[in-house]
Symmetry: C2
Subunit: 328 residues, 2 copies
């Protein structure tokens, strides 16, 4: 059946991406829509974004040619447990003209599959939050962290942003001159790095600027830490080292010492060429010197690959993966 | 004027206390009412509690005999900056029959004054939150921490509670058996220390039990850490040590090395005979071996003492303080 297609979706908090593939590894359609995470946006809204992305990806294609589909999203377990969410997704699937069944996987599994075809390994994700998972037979197995900003996500973008503010406040309390990172953080929060005659007024204004917004917004300061570290700022470099150590500790909680299965790095802080990605690579190489280290790629294509694997026509999933994700 | 009286109020989040003193150091009236912190309860409600406590303390006393008054409360600066709050407090003062002026001080200054009559020194408070202040001429001078649970309060009750949950989650992630502290924390949060067949379900339930309530409620777990440390639990003991180090670091930010002025310990975690109080004493003695170490006492009496100091009749404020707060 050379006409057979598979579809994959990567549903994130800020965007939903769809990819349609042939079984010999050609991308014949892509689509994009707004954030569709049902946990943060509600199942109806998420399903609407899903439909938009699907329709764009299926433009000029016959949807009945699609033989399998996979949706990757955060909080997959919660969607599957909620009948209303499942109904909304079923309807979007049907409205896009799709007649095949679909499978829902956690975004961590999809990120893993975008980095390797190996059935067993580890995925470490650091973006706004941070989570690590062991993958067994291409299913999520044990998980470490992903506990959210209040209790965890150690080494994440939220963590970096919060720690940057904490260092700034400590400098203000101690009456120390502000370094490069503290100066940019204060400017970002208050529009100026000028310190009030009573330093405590600047402390209070800083705290208010942070607490006016949802706590998770502290993650928006993470790029300032990354930039300052790239320019050699000592405080930022120390924070990056600590974040890398936290992430490595999370991996250690669930990945056996001496494991040689692949380890995939995902999330905005680890897929870009950042000092944090570099520091994490060093930590991982120190603990698991023989593990292949991969970087997560296109999640929608990985979801489509997971769908293709389930079809009897896909005789060599690893070869298909290699065509979709050539190792640079 | 042997008939002259002074009144002091200690306005806290959970209770408001009033104390009426003669200038020779006799407590002739006390009153108590509900939480009256205007930041958390609103100025009108705070003023109503203030009036209740004042009326109780002035029972059978002629309020026109009161020559000076002091109110100690958290967020004093904010009350003074808010005309409505000031009006509500003025009205309560007047409705209690008082005709003298009153002064508003931060609760940290009142806690300091309940431990020493020395005009210069340091107050370190650890309760739900944590704050340190330098006192100069019996006014709050530089401040360290008190940054709130999201950004600071390192070593506080909130901090101890959050860290206890974080250790529990790390144990669950790693599949480690739970120690004494983790077991009591899990039982407190979920009603049982039984771990689900999928440990991640217990992780999720724990996170939900915490995030269902306001974050600051994590402080209610602090007594579990204190109890476990008293029974020798290693994790709890390590957390207590870290909390003591955090508190000592906050003090270091504003108190000069080698200072010999008194240092007063306040807040529920440091005024009781807890392992944290003991650990903080060790840290303080290591950094400032020659500093007198005191414990905060009755805040309402300290507020009344601050009021008495302002009267010309009070010729020896230190002697009055010694009568009010005999050093055990």
């Amino acid at each position: 059946m050379p006409d057979t297609l598979v579809v994959g979706l990567d549903v994130g908090g800020t965007s939903t991406r769809a990819s349609v593939l042939t079984l010999d590894g050609h991308r014949v359609g892509t689509g994009r829509a707004g954030g569709g995470n049902p946990t943060s946006h509600g199942a109806e809204r998420a399903a609407a974004e899903l439909l938009t992305a699907l329709r764009a990806a299926l433009t000029d294609l016959d949807p009945t040619r699609v033989a399998a589909g996979t949706i990757g999203l955060a909080g997959a377990a919660r969607l599957l447990a909620d009948p209303q969410g499942r109904v909304a997704f079923d309807r979007a699937w049907h409205d896009a003209g799709l007649r095949c069944p679909y499978t829902v996987h956690g975004d961590a599994l999809v990120a893993y599959a975008s980095g390797t075809a190996a059935p067993d390994g580890t995925i470490l994700i650091a973006g706004t939050g941070a989570i690590t998972a062991q993958v067994h037979d291409l299913r999520l197995d044990r998980i470490a962290d992903g506990h959210g900003w209040l209790l965890g996500d150690a080494g994440s973008g939220f963590w970096l942003g919060r720690e940057a503010v904490r260092r700034l406040l400590a400098d203000l309390d101690a009456g120390r001159g502000l370094g490069a990172l503290a100066t940019t953080v204060l400017t970002e929060l208050l529009g100026s790095a000028e310190i009030a005659p009573r330093a405590r007024d600047t402390v209070d204004a800083t705290i208010q600027a942070v607490t006016r917004r949802p706590p998770v917004d502290l993650a928006r300061l993470a790029p300032l830490v990354v930039d300052a570290a790239e320019r050699g700022d000592e405080v930022a470099t120390a924070l990056i080292s600590q974040a890398a150590a936290h992430l490595s500790t999370s991996v250690s909680r669930i990945r056996p010492a001496g494991a040689v299965t692949p380890l995939v790095l995902g999330g905005g802080l680890l897929t870009a060429d950042t000092p944090l990605a570099a520091a994490v690579r060093v930590e991982i190489a120190r603990h698991w010197p023989d593990a292949p280290l991969r970087t997560a790629g296109d999640g929608a294509a990985a979801a489509a690959w997971l769908a293709a694997r389930e079809l009897p026509e896909t005789t060599d999933p690893a070869a298909l993966h290699a065509r979709l994700f050539p190792v640079g």
